[in-house]
């Protein structure tokens, strides 16, 4: 193809261009305003005191400061939580069902001397009384209890995720501006999504416990509803932002909305969808441990029970189990993502 060189600018073309520096006085004013907000709000939420106490704690640890409230508090907690409780024992007398020839795995029966102080009603004196009892010692008994509770927690999280995905699919379709049938369905669905997202799991679980009673149902539904709002919003926004070109190609041949979505959008957004869903699974595992606090099943119920009984050794075991579960899930989801993308 023949072409002509770009000609000289026509007479009268302005050539006095100017490129302003990127910063001006307005930026300085904004900077000062942000700084002022940081200082005022920081003081109101005691960030200054936090910094001082933390500095004191560090000073105490490296030996410059004599006393630190933070270090004292933390070491008291640490001492009461260490060591984590692994084993469990029960009085044989309280286990009428126990078959001495078929003890549970890893367990054995021990004879223990128990000394108790009792008030003698006649003499009104405290008396030492020693009795010999048989106990069933389960060296990893508590670990097993926690593991069972943890599995229940994971099941709650899994089902919460399943329900949230199922709910979010129609939400995403109607909340995507370019697929929603009309403005009203779009606004309505966006409203539903905001409502679901604005209700914290813990509060929802509280109400659902009233409706469905104690146990996992309330937990699963609370997690599912909240995450459905999250997934619906993110799925919908990915649909809106997906590459328009393949959609136009399918629209041009009259493929119809649903089929265009499935063939023109879904393959493009699938990796993001997997990432969101795995994040929700991860979040649900962490939240499932917490919603047990209001009686919605899982390890949280156990945690709250032990915490209320000041059994911090048990609490430590539970916290370690939660950490381990979240860590393993992270590894698992990283591998899964690498494989699927």
């Amino acid at each position: 193809m023949d072409s002509k060189p770009i000609p000289l600018p026509a007479p009268g073309t302005r050539l006095d261009w100017r490129l302003d520096p990127p910063y001006s006085a307005r930026h300085l004013a904004w900077l000062l305003l942000v700084l002022a907000i940081i200082l005022v709000t920081g003081h109101r939420v005691e960030m200054d005191r936090m910094a001082m106490m933390s500095a004191q704690a560090v000073g105490n640890l490296i030996g410059i400061s004599d006393d630190s409230q933070v270090v004292r508090g933390l070491s008291r907690v640490g001492q009461s939580m260490w060591p984590p409780v692994i084993g469990d024992q029960e009085e044989v007398a309280r286990l009428p069902e126990l078959d001495r020839n078929k003890l549970p795995l890893f367990s054995h029966i021990e004879v223990q001397q128990r000394t108790e102080q009792r008030l003698n009603p006649q003499t009104l004196q405290l008396e030492q009384e020693t009795e010999t009892i048989e106990v069933l010692v389960k060296p990893v008994g508590y670990l097993w209890t926690v593991a069972v509770k943890m599995v229940e927690t994971l099941e709650i999280a899994l089902w919460g995720t399943v329900i949230s995905v199922l709910l979010s699919i129609p939400l995403a379709y109607y909340a995507a501006r370019n697929y929603s049938p009309n403005r009203y369905t779009y606004t309505f669905t966006r409203g539903v999504i905001s409502l679901l997202r604005s209700a914290p799991e813990l509060i929802v679980a509280l109400f659902l416990v009233l409706a469905y009673g104690f146990g996992p149902i309330a937990g699963v539904l609370a997690l599912g509803l909240h995450a459905a709002g999250f997934l619906g919003k993110f799925y919908a926004e990915d649909i809106e932002n997906a590459d328009k070109k393949p959609q136009e190609a399918l629209e041009a041949i009259g493929a119809g909305k649903l089929k265009t979505l499935w063939y023109g959008v879904m393959p493009q957004v699938a990796p993001q969808y997997i990432a969101y869903t795995l994040y929700i699974l991860d979040r649900n595992v962490r939240m499932a441990t917490v919603i047990g606090l209001v009686g919605a099943g899982g390890i949280g119920q156990e945690l709250k029970g032990r915490f209320d009984m000041f059994q911090y050794g048990h609490v430590a075991t539970i916290l370690l189990a939660i950490f381990l579960a979240v860590f393993l899930l992270d590894q698992f989801s990283a591998r899964l993502r690498a494989r699927l993308m």
Partner: protein, 265 residues
């Protein structure tokens, strides 16, 4: 086959893309539209399947006027080949080609990806025709080279046995050798099915080689309409440099029109 009845298109910002164009493209014709960027070539093409609604006038295919009521039915008879291939990049080549059948496949089958054996066989046959091999079937469309992607685009376009093929600068981003191959594929496949092709191009030599008829457009008007032999070098010069530089459109104001055209022009 395709009849444009004095259609005009003015964009909301006041840019006039098409001014009162009347054109009749008979069945089986390979009609190439030439013209500088911003001349309205894409707009004219997109008016055929309703991707752009003309502000005035009407388009009819085989006597059926394009209206919102007839749009879906007409679109099923019109295929489109795009400058940027418009494939679903993360989907397999096979999936992209089968997507050409979406207008006639039931929703359940489409969602499950469970196409009839004859449809799958047809996809394989077409992919073979456009010069791809069986190992391309399961490759992701986005992993192919530009030329291969456009081959997939051509195969997709002919999947539903179209009566009209709209090719919107199908070879603008491909090298000359591949451009010629792709245009030959489009022409041969269309002639075989007696399909009408409306193709916009930037390469004058390719246009002369492949077109049954050439339409030159400039500033939304048809300034040339004839057989390739009549399209002399002087007329090329007139079409692309006919007015003073200052009067020529400075920028591409149509949405969706790629910047690449500006570079070529």
């Amino acid at each position: 086959m395709i009849r444009f009845e004095s259609i005009s298109k003015t964009w909301p910002d006041g840019t006039r893309a098409l001014s009162n164009i009347s054109l009749d493209v008979p069945k089986g014709q390979f009609c190439v539209i030439l013209g500088p960027s911003g001349a309205g070539k894409s707009t004219l093409l997109r008016a055929v399947n309703g991707l752009t609604q003309p502000t005035q006038g009407s388009v009819a295919i085989d006597g059926t006027v394009l209206t919102p009521a007839t749009e879906r039915a007409l679109r099923k008879r019109v295929a489109m080949i795009h400058q940027h291939f418009n494939l679903t990049n993360r989907m397999s080549v096979a999936g992209n080609v089968l997507a050409g059948l979406l207008p006639v496949v039931s929703t359940v089958r489409a969602l499950l990806g469970w196409f009839k054996p004859e449809h799958r066989a047809k996809a394989c046959r077409l992919l073979g025709h456009v010069g791809l091999s069986p190992e391309h079937l399961q490759r992701r469309a986005g992993d192919l080279s530009g030329g291969q992607q456009q081959r997939v685009g051509v195969a997709r376009a002919f999947m539903n046995d179209p009566e009209v093929v709209l090719a919107d600068e199908p070879v603008a981003s491909l090298d000359p050798k591949i451009s010629r191959d792709i245009l030959a594929l489009i022409r041969d496949a269309a002639k075989e099915r007696n399909a009408t092709v409306l193709c916009s191009l930037h390469q004058v030599d390719l246009a002369r080689e492949f077109a049954d008829r050439l339409v030159g457009m400039r500033d939304g008007r048809v300034v040339f309409d004839g057989i390739p032999a009549e399209f002399t070098d002087a007329r090329v010069e007139a079409l692309y440099h006919g007015v003073r530089w200052e009067d020529a459109p400075k920028a591409d104001k149509q949405p969706g029109m790629p910047a690449l055209e500006v570079a070529i022009a």
